[in-house]
Symmetry: C2
Subunit: 166 residues, 2 copies
DNA sequence: GGCGAAAGTTTGATATACCAAACTTATATT
DNA sequence: AATATAAGTTTGGTATATCAAACTTTCGCC
């Protein structure tokens, strides 16, 4: 499709978020969300507009075109998937998961994201893993040890749980 | 520590690889490895040299300083961990795992990488998961279905395997 | 309606990273 | 040792993304 710079992808993402909450986006809000000055936003908006991704007239509000919205949603989805993995699988703190997701969303391609979605799904729903396996991973992160006896008990519990809820 | 641009981190990474195989790195080889022209390499080398990360004299070969080597090894480790996860856990094709790792290595921080290492380790060694669980995930990716009966069999097999190898 | 503040834009500057092409140095061969 | 060629460097230019500060437009309020 169209290869946008990381920066422009970020602008689209913020514009979508503002559009979702406020109907439209304004330069000042985008600048605050991006942590840049308003002048930088105006430059970016011109570029996005020239690529047909936003509706932009000087001194007016900003909305996404259908094309821009689709792209913004893709970026937002990548962000959400990665944050989910980092926060709910790796059990990173929310702030850290967010910070890493912001960067990784630009570095990962469609094939990898789609597979990651499948992985998270499988991990959550396979009876051999699921939420209690993730909890046991969290515990492992604290203790750094695997104990054969504990594993045996854990495994038995896991099997019993699945058989009874069957 | 010192925040290097993605590009300079890539240069360090390539220089380490060349140093490992050839003792020293040369401009031409770095240019080939990076996919840029030699003139671009010379510019980057000056910057790396000014930051005390490489030993560089015009028209001579290049080696890493201890500081540069440490940084290069960190980048290389991040790369290897991510490639391992993408290739051996998510089961992406080697080329795709490599391409994504090249980009993600610059986007992920130490906390996330360290946790990912723990996760891969736990996934490989926990009796509830391990290589056969990953194989069952790979199979799931093809079929996109979870079957309670299959799960029951899979879980029983998993438990039996662990008990006998105990 | 006019005016002041807030919002938005423009301009000129900086920094990074790259290329193309001219130029310099090193080397390899005879 | 001379010279052609390969390797390395320099120069000038492009593109992106940002800031600071001057400038313009819009909008609310009296």
């Amino acid at each position: 499709m169209m290869q946008l710079s990381e920066s422009l992808q970020d602008y689209l993402e913020k514009i979508l978020a503002l559009e979702s909450s406020n109907k439209v986006a304004r330069v000042k809000e985008i600048a605050e969300a991006m942590g840049v000055l308003q002048g930088s936003v105006t430059s970016a908006l011109k570029t996005l507009s020239s690529k047909g991704l936003i509706n932009y007239e000087p001194y007016s509000f900003i909305t996404l075109t259908p094309k821009g919205k689709k792209l913004a949603q893709e970026v937002t989805r990548r962000h959400a998937v990665i944050k989910d993995f980092l926060g709910n699988v790796l059990q990173l703190e929310a702030e850290n998961a967010e910070a890493n997701a912001c960067r990784i969303e630009h570095a990962i391609d469609r094939i990898a994201i789609d597979r990651l979605v499948q992985f998270i799904d499988y991990l959550n729903n396979c009876p051999r893993t699921g939420p209690d396996w993730i909890a046991s991973f969290t515990n492992y992160c604290k203790t750094e040890a695997m104990d054969a006896q504990k594993c045996k008990t854990c495994l038995k519990q896991c099997k019993d749980d699945f058989q009874t809820t069957d």
